[in-house]
């Protein structure tokens, strides 16, 4: 009897929890849309510059978010590009080569890295940049390269851990079939394990993309500025959407500027949505027909 009451309670509570979550997402999105949509428009992104001229980099945009969008995309692409090979290889090592003891020690390290607040990673990047500036090259300062490196460290644990989990999650039959047929360990990894865990690895990468796109604390200390134009070099400053939103919401001079902050928030969400969608397409394209789906009985 009590069990049944408890079960009923749990069910109601779970339902409530789901409703609260969905509700808060909808309220948040609704609030952003109501506040931000009026400011959305060509001018918000490109200012007074012709769209084609801006996209082809013929003219620089000064009053719009275009440089910040370009900055965000560069930061995401570069840091994920840097983190993925390292993270995936570390994950492969953890899953395929490490002893149980090594798995425990390294796993703990990765979890600690995952738990470090991003502001601390930002501070570390900043100190590193200052060190290089002082002792190695006077021309080196906080810049795009420092932000990219710091962000890559921030997302490495996600990629490593999801890669490891995805590979270890494969069934023992799949893991050993090729080996039993005489494949080498490396062949097994490349032809069997990686393709089959691709979907899981990609979830980690998607998480990493989101994190790189939205993190403000790291970039704030390592090279992002209020105005810099389209990022031209790894050693230069750049603009980014999350920093713009942070900056505008604390330093706005009039209501219209604050509104443009809401517009920027919607654009940031849009940029993330596009990146996620691209990742999703890649996942379907690569992991769809040739990947795990084929191995399933109903596939």
């Amino acid at each position: 009897m009590t069990i049944r009451i408890l079960g009923g309670c749990l069910r109601v509570f779970s339902w409530g929890a789901v409703l609260v979550l969905t509700g808060s997402v909808l309220v948040l999105l609704g609030y952003l849309l109501v506040k931000g949509v009026p400011s959305l428009g060509r001018d918000l992104i490109f200012g007074q510059v012709d769209v084609l001229d801006a996209v082809l980099l013929k003219k620089r945009v000064f009053d719009g978010l275009f440089p910040a969008i370009a900055g965000t995309l560069s930061v995401v692409a570069l840091s994920v590009g840097l983190a993925v090979p390292v993270g995936v290889c570390a994950g492969i090592y953890m899953s395929e080569f490490a002893t149980v003891f090594q798995q425990r020690v390294f796993g703990l390290m990765f979890d600690i890295l995952a738990g470090i607040p991003s502001i601390v990673i930002g501070l570390f990047g900043f100190s590193g940049a200052i060190f290089i500036h002082k002792y190695i090259s006077n021309d080196f300062r906080p810049c795009l390269a420092v932000s990219v490196a710091a962000l890559a460290f921030l997302v490495l644990p996600y990629i490593t851990r999801t890669t490891q989990a995805a590979m270890q999650g494969l069934s023992i039959q799949i893991r050993q079939a090729a080996l039993a047929l005489g494949a080498t360990r490396v062949q097994n990894i490349f032809y069997v394990l990686l393709p089959r865990s691709f979907s899981g690895i990609l979830s980690g990468i998607i998480l990493a993309i989101g994190r790189c796109a939205e993190d403000t604390a790291v970039i704030m200390l390592t090279g992002v500025v209020a105005t810099a134009g389209i990022p031209g070099s790894l050693l230069g400053s750049y603009e980014a959407l999350p920093f713009y939103i942070y900056y505008i919401s604390s330093q706005y001079t009039d209501a219209a500027e604050l509104m443009s902050g809401y517009g920027a928030a919607i654009i940031l969400l849009g940029v993330c949505a596009v990146l996620f969608f691209l990742a999703f397409l890649i996942k379907r394209h690569l992991a769809g027909p040739a990947g795990p789906a084929r191995g399933r009985f109903h596939g």
């Binding site: 620089r60 500036h133 105005t227 810099a228 230069g236 400053s237 330093q251 001079t253 009039d254 500027e257």
Partner: protein, 277 residues
Amino acid sequence: MSCKKNIMLVVLMVAVTFFQVPAQAGAIDPFSGLSGEIRISGGTAHIPVMKEAAKQIMRANPEISISIAGGGSGVGIKQVGEGIVDIGNSGRAATDAEVEKYGLKLFKWAIDGVGAAVNPGNPVTSLTKAQLKDIYSGKITNWKDLGGKDAPITVYTRDESSGTRAVFWKKALDKGDIVSSANFVVSNGAMKTAIANDPNAIGYVSVGHMDASVAGVALDGVPPTIDTVKSGEYKVARGLYSNTQGDPSGLTKLFIAYLLSPEGQRIVVQKGFVPVN
């Protein structure tokens, strides 16, 4: 007759082109053909002027890139001192210790007044310095004591890193106490929003930011306006500085010269500050 008219027209056109060209290009000219980067950080009040100047320069010279970051006066001085940026902005003169430690050169290119402000619906638009200090120290807590309606005063202030706060505290409050129940806001814009939405508010904003959404409070009979700051009548004011490490050179030197040129000073006026030249 028509011949005379034509000659007049030609003379006029020549005169117009003659005077227009230098007026449009003048101060930008030295930048032409140059390339490189100028890094600027520091005081947030400076950013609108910096942005506009950078825009003018970069639009005419695509090879020059100018990056502008905020951070506050302290950050600007420290970063330029450490050689991380080329120009560090500050809303106060660098102290002797800072000048000596970093070998700074100071360039003052504008003056900014800071005025107390209340909600436009508030009948109290003039205070003595003593009254203002009493409000901020928490001695006077109701508008009726100042000739207003019977309502508690809500005090707004900026955070410690604000240069606006520094000058208001030093010159309007004579470094007096700020009551601990004061509400913190983070920028001139946020201060204006707070005051505009709170009928019982008092706060302070940069004179350049004052508009119809708030009412400036005359201090000892002097209203905080660009004109009174310019004439020196209104005392709660500060210089806006750009600092460099040692004598500026190259693009940095040109940039500072541009700020002090008639065009740069026009931007200063346009953004609500008092020019120095």
